[in-house]
Symmetry: C2
Subunit: 434 residues, 2 copies
C-alpha cells in the first residue's frame, strides 16, 4: 500500500492530537483511501520534554529545516503557531515544493498574501481547513461545495472562548470578569486573553473566510474589530428579555462596491439558529445566491476537532500526490469578480442603545429628537426607575438606519450634559440580504 510521509512541525496540544488521530484511525483511513498516512519526522523545540502523547523518540528533532528537507516527508503539517518561525518554515516548505497543511490562522491572516503567492508560484498544495472553525468544514465548504455560488454574506461565531464566556454570562448571570477568571483557571482561556476576547482571533478567521470566498487577500486592517471585553451583564439580560442572544459575530457582506468585514458583539434574534449556538461551539451561516442559507456547526477548537480537519487535508494532499493532481484546488483562487474591501459605514441595521440619563425633565425627548434628526426611528423604549445615583437607564431599540447615522447621533448624545455615561450600542443582526 502507498504511503504518504508526514513531517510534523510542533508537538503541542494540537500536534499531539494529530498523532493520536492517525494512531486511532489510520487503518480506517487507509481502507477508505488506499494509502497510509505515516508520521516520518517531528520537529520540536526540546526533544527531552514530556509530551501529552507517546511517540518514538527517534522521530523527534530540534532541526525543523531537516524535517522539511527529508525526502521521505511528502507533506508538512505546521503546528507550531505564531507568525515568525511558522512563517519562515511554511515558506521554506512551499519553496521546496512540499505541500503544507496548517491550522495557523494568525499566520494566514497577517502574512497570508505572501504565503498564498508562494504556493501559487510553486504550484504546490496549501491546505488550511483547520485554521477556521476546527472541525467545521467551512473552508472546503467555500472552496468546493459552494463554488457555484456568489457568496452574499457570511455570519460566523468563530471563537469558542468568547462564545463560552457569553453563554455562561447569560445562563448564570455572571459578569465577564468572573467567567473569564474561571475560564482561565480551568484552561479554557489564555492567561493573556486579548487575542480571543478583543476579537482578534475572530478577525483572523474572518480574513481567511473572506479571502477564500472573494478571491483576493483581505488585509487585517480592513476589518472593523470590537471584542467582548466591555460587554456588560446588564445588556445580555436586557437582550435576553427581548428575545436576543449576545454573540461575538463576524459579519462578512458583499455590498454593491466591495466586501465589508466586521467583528463585533451583536444581538442575534432567537429565531435564527446562530442564537442557539452555545458554549465552545462555533458556527458559520453562509448565504449563497443559489443555495440560499447553509449553516455549518461544530466544535471550533481543541486538539481533536482540529486533528479531524488536519486529517481531511492530509487525505486531500495524499490523493493529489498519488493522482499527480497537485494544486488541483488552488489555496487562493485570485480573480477580479469583487472590487475590494470597504468601510461598513452605510450598512443598514437595527440598533440596541443603552443610555444612562440624569433624571431631568425633557432628557428623553431630547434624545428622541437627536435620533430623529439623524433619521433614526425608534421602535421601542424602556425606561427604568432611577437608581440611588439619580440616573435612569433607558433602553432604546431602533428601526433600521445606517451605521454612520448611529455614529453621528451617538456622538451628539454623548456630548449632552444630561448623559451620565457614554451610550452603549450593539447592532441587531436581522440577516437580511437581497
Amino acid at each position: 500500500m502507498k504511503e504518504i510521509g508526514i513531517g510534523l512541525l510542533g508537538l503541542g496540544h494540537v500536534g499531539s492530537g494529530v498523532v493520536r488521530a492517525i494512531e486511532r484511525n489510520g487503518a480506517l483511513i487507509a481502507d477508505r483511501t488506499g494509502f497510509r498516512l505515516i508520521i516520518r519526522r517531528i520537529a520540536v523545540r526540546d526533544v527531552g520534554k514530556v509530551r501529552p502523547v507517546k511517540v518514538d523518540s527517534a522521530l523527534l528533532t530540534q532541526d525543523a529545516a531537516s524535517v522539511i528537507e527529508d525526502p521521505n516527508v511528502h507533506v508538512v503539517v505546521e503546528m507550531i503557531g505564531g507568525t515568525t518561525d511558522a512563517h519562515a518554515l511554511t515558506l521554506q516548505a512551499l519553496q521546496a515544493g512540499k505541500p503544507v497543511v496548517t491550522a495557523n490562522k494568525a499566520l494566514l491572516a497577517e502574512r497570508g498574501d505572501e504565503i498564498f503567492a508562494k504556493a501559487e508560484r510553486r504550484h504546490v498544495d496549501l491546505y488550511f481547513g483547520p485554521s477556521v472553525g476546527g472541525g467545521i468544514p467551512i473552508i472546503r465548504g467555500l472552496r468546493e461545495d459552494l463554488i457555484g455560488n456568489h457568496i452574499v454574506a457570511m455570519y460566523g461565531i468563530l471563537n469558542g472562548t468568547c462564545n463560552y464566556i457569553l453563554t455562561r454570562m447569560e445562563q448564570e448571570h455572571l459578569p465577564i470578569e468572573t467567567v473569564l477568571a474561571e475560564a482561565q483557571a480551568a484552561g479554557y482561556a489564555e492567561a493573556e486573553p486579548s487575542l480571543d476576547i478583543d476579537g482578534w482571533d475572530t478577525a483572523h478567521k474572518a480574513v481567511i473566510l473572506a479571502s477564500t470566498a472573494y478571491g483576493f487577500f483581505v488585509p487585517m486592517e480592513d476589518v472593523d474589530v470590537r471584542g467582548i471585553r466591555d460587554v456588560a451583564l446588564a445588556d445580555i439580560k436586557e437582550a435576553r428579555a427581548m428575545g436576543f442572544a449576545m454573540k461575538l459575530l463576524a459579519v462578512i457582506q458583499h455590498l454593491d462596491d466591495g466586501i465589508s468585514i466586521r467583528v463585533q458583539p451583536t444581538l442575534v434574534p432567537d429565531d435564527n439558529l446562530l442564537a442557539s449556538v452555545g458554549g465552545v461551539f462555533n458556527a458559520v451561516l453562509v448565504v449563497g445566491d443559489i443555495v440560499g442559507e447553509a449553516l455549518f456547526y461544530g466544535r471550533g477548537a481543541g486538539p481533536d476537532p482540529t486533528a479531524s480537519a488536519v486529517l481531511a487535508d492530509l487525505v486531500d494532499v495524499g490523493r493529489n500526490l498519488i493522482a499527480g493532481s497537485e494544486n488541483r484546488v488552488p489555496a487562493l483562487a485570485r480573480h477580479h469578480q469583487y472590487g475590494g474591501t470597504r468601510c461598513p459605514d452605510d450598512i443598514p441595521g437595527r440598533c440596541y442603545l443603552r443610555l444612562l440619563l440624569r433624571d431631568e425633565p425633557g432628557v428623553l425627548a431630547l434624545v428622541a429628537e437627536i435620533c430623529a434628526a439623524h433619521k433614526i426611528s425608534i421602535a421601542s423604549v424602556r425606561q427604568y426607575e432611577r437608581g440611588s445615583d439619580g440616573h435612569a437607564t433607558v433602553i432604546i431599540v431602533t428601526h433600521s438606519a445606517l451605521e454612520r447615522q448611529f455614529n453621528a447621533a451617538i456622538a451628539v448624545i454623548d456630548g449632552l450634559d444630561t448623559i451620565a455615561a457614554p451610550v452603549v450600542q450593539y447592532r441587531i443582526e436581522d440577516f437580511q440580504h437581497d
Copy 2:
C-alpha cells in the same frame, strides 16, 4: 480557457435550475477554477414542450443515448428521475467512461449497488452530492471533510415536505390532513404523497448516507421505516408542552456488531439544534469519534439548492478531467471495517407512550405493572380527565429501555380489555453516544 462539456439528461424543474445556475454564475466559476462549464446537449422527452428556462433549441434532443455518446460531452448530469430510464442511462454513461453527476436518490438507494460497482469497474467518477440534502454539503462532508473519523452516528431531517408539515402542525395546531391538502394545493407536496410522508424518500437518503459513511452498500430492506401519516396533532401538542419537537428523523448508528438504520417520527429535545430546524429546511447531525458533533443545515430540496450541489460536483469532475485524476475520490470506497446492518431491536432509548384507557379502577396500575415486568421504568405520567366516551388519555414518558422491551410491553398492553385503542409510541432521541 478549457471547457468542460455537459450533457444534461432531463430539463424539468431541477434540470432547468442547473441551466439557470450555469448562466448566472458560469463566469464566476470560470474565474475560480480556470475552466468553463458548457451545456452541450440536453435530452428531453418532448423537444416541443415549453420549459421553465430558455435554451437554444439546437441543444435539445429526444435521443438520450446520443447525448451520452457525443464526444463533446465530457460529463453527464442525470436529472430525469425514476429508476428505469435513469438506471439504464447512468450505466450506459459509466460504461462509456463518462463521469456522471446525479440527484437521483431513489436510483442510488434501490439500484446503487450495481451503479457503484460499474463506476468502480470503469474507474470513472460518479458524484451524487445533490441526492441528499440538496444544498447541504453532507456527501462531500462524509467523503472528504470527515474522512478521518469513524462515524458514530448520524441524525438527519432529510425530507422538506415532512418537516414543513410537522412544523405547520405544531405552529398552527392543524391536523395532518389539512396541512397536507394545503401543501398539495400549493405544490409543496406531491398529489401521491407516499414517497415523502411514508418515509421512503428519507429512507433512500439514509441508505446513501450510511453506505457513504460505512463503506458497504446498505440495502433498503434493512431500513426500519415509519412515516408521518399517522402522527396526531394531539401528540405534537403534548410533545411541545414537554419541550420536544416532533421530527421525522433518520437515525443511523454504529453499534458493536453493525449499523442500525431507522426512519421514524421522533421526539427531539428542544436543547438540540435539530429541534429548531423548521419548515422545508433539512439538517444532518453527524457524530464523529474525533470531530465530535458537527451539524450541516440548509435547504434540502428545490431546483436552486440542488443546482448548487450539481455545480460543486461538476467542478470536482472538471478538475479531475483536467488534472487527469479521475476517480480520485471513489463513489463508494468499499471496505470491511463495519460488519453489516442489524436490527435496531436492542437500541436503548426513552419513549413517549399515549394510551386510551377505559376508565376503570386499576387500569393504570396494570399498565405500570406490565412496564415494570418488561424492565421499563416510568419517568412521568399525565392522566387527563376522561372524555364523554368514558375513556381517559394517559401520557407516559419512560426512562431508557430497549426497543424490544417496548415492543413486548406494548403487545401485552394492546391485548388488555381495558385499552380502548392501540398504544401510540414515539422514541425520544437523546443523542447519547459513547
